[in-house]
């Protein structure tokens, strides 16, 4: 029984890992690549680590595997956020099919702060605070 669960988890993990690699290679711009890599790799390595926990079935191994999964779940989004921010400052191009980019021009390139509305040159949308 545990062998079947282990095998299933390993196959799922390997599948999503290959999807992550394929996505990183095929996607046309930085943000799409991050989109493909960050989640598929989290799910893939999470499934593989769970397979280890099920296979060995002892407390020590399970706590270590679960700790690693939690750590990955916490850190992957942060790494993606920081890389996306850095990419935006470097001026990475978005792919031509992008529908809309509402972040364009919102970063203050000198102070590295992020505004919530267009600066004063654009017509103000409304005076009411956005809820």
């Amino acid at each position: 029984m545990t062998d079947v669960i282990t095998a299933a988890l390993m196959i799922v993990g390997a599948f999503f890992m290959v999807m992550a690699g394929l996505g990183v290679l095929r996607m046309p711009d930085l943000f799409l690549r991050m989109s493909a890599s960050s989640k598929a790799s989290t799910l893939g390595s999470g499934a593989l680590l769970l397979a280890v926990a099920v296979h060995f079935g002892s407390v020590g191994v399970t706590t270590r595997a679960v700790a690693t999964i939690v750590f990955l779940l916490l850190t992957t989004p942060i790494a993606a956020h920081m890389l996306g921010r850095a990419g935006y400052f470097v001026g990475v191009k978005l792919v031509e099919t992008t529908v809309i980019d509402e972040l364009a021009g919102q970063y203050d390139l000198r102070s590295h702060r992020l505004r919530s509305k267009q600066p004063a040159t654009a017509p103000p949308e409304s005076d009411q605070p956005q809820v």
């Binding site: 996607m27 989109s35 989004p77 099919t97 919102q106």
Partner: protein
């Protein structure tokens, strides 16, 4: 939080009584302790524990279902010979304000495939999210606000 401590204590005493220290047995001890505490709820000082635990479990299950389903969708779109993409960077007005709530929301958005959290403005009014496939911007905004944001708000604020 005291009830959580009590529950842990009950789980540990279950372990001590049965003498097998395995993850499955620990989990069973927790479930047993929770049942016992829920049964004797009226004798204990009032606590949010009994409303929070089902909520947290429902939240985790919803998230896992979303994660797997959406990952499969992205896998199909990666495998299709012609990439059919309509990416967009969308500004979503925020109604959660506290640091933990925003952090949890951002992590959830990044971990669900198709969407990637980019940044939050300094005044915490707007969150910028990148998405792979968008049909209707307003519908997408409402989807995030009514789905994850509402649940995060229920959980943390």
């Amino acid at each position: 939080m005291n009830t959580l401590l009590l529950n842990t204590l009950l789980a540990l005493s279950w372990i001590a009584l049965t003498g097998t220290f395995t993850p499955a047995n620990l989990l069973f001890g927790f479930v047993l302790g929770y049942g016992l505490l829920a049964f004797t709820q009226r004798l204990l000082p009032p606590s949010r524990y009994f409303t929070m635990v089902p909520r947290v479990i429902a939240f985790v299950l919803l998230f896992l279902a979303e994660l797997i389903q959406a990952n499969l969708r992205v896998a199909f779109s990666v495998l299709s010979p012609r990439l059919d993409l309509r990416p967009a960077v969308v500004a979503i007005p925020l109604s959660v304000r506290s640091d933990p709530a925003i952090t949890l929301l951002a992590n959830l958005i990044t971990l669900t495939p198709g969407t990637l959290y980019l940044d939050v403005s300094e005044d915490r009014q707007v969150m910028y999210v990148h998405t792979i496939h968008v049909h209707d911007l307003e519908q997408f905004r409402q989807g995030i606000k009514n789905g994850f944001e509402r649940r995060v708000k229920e959980l943390l604020e």
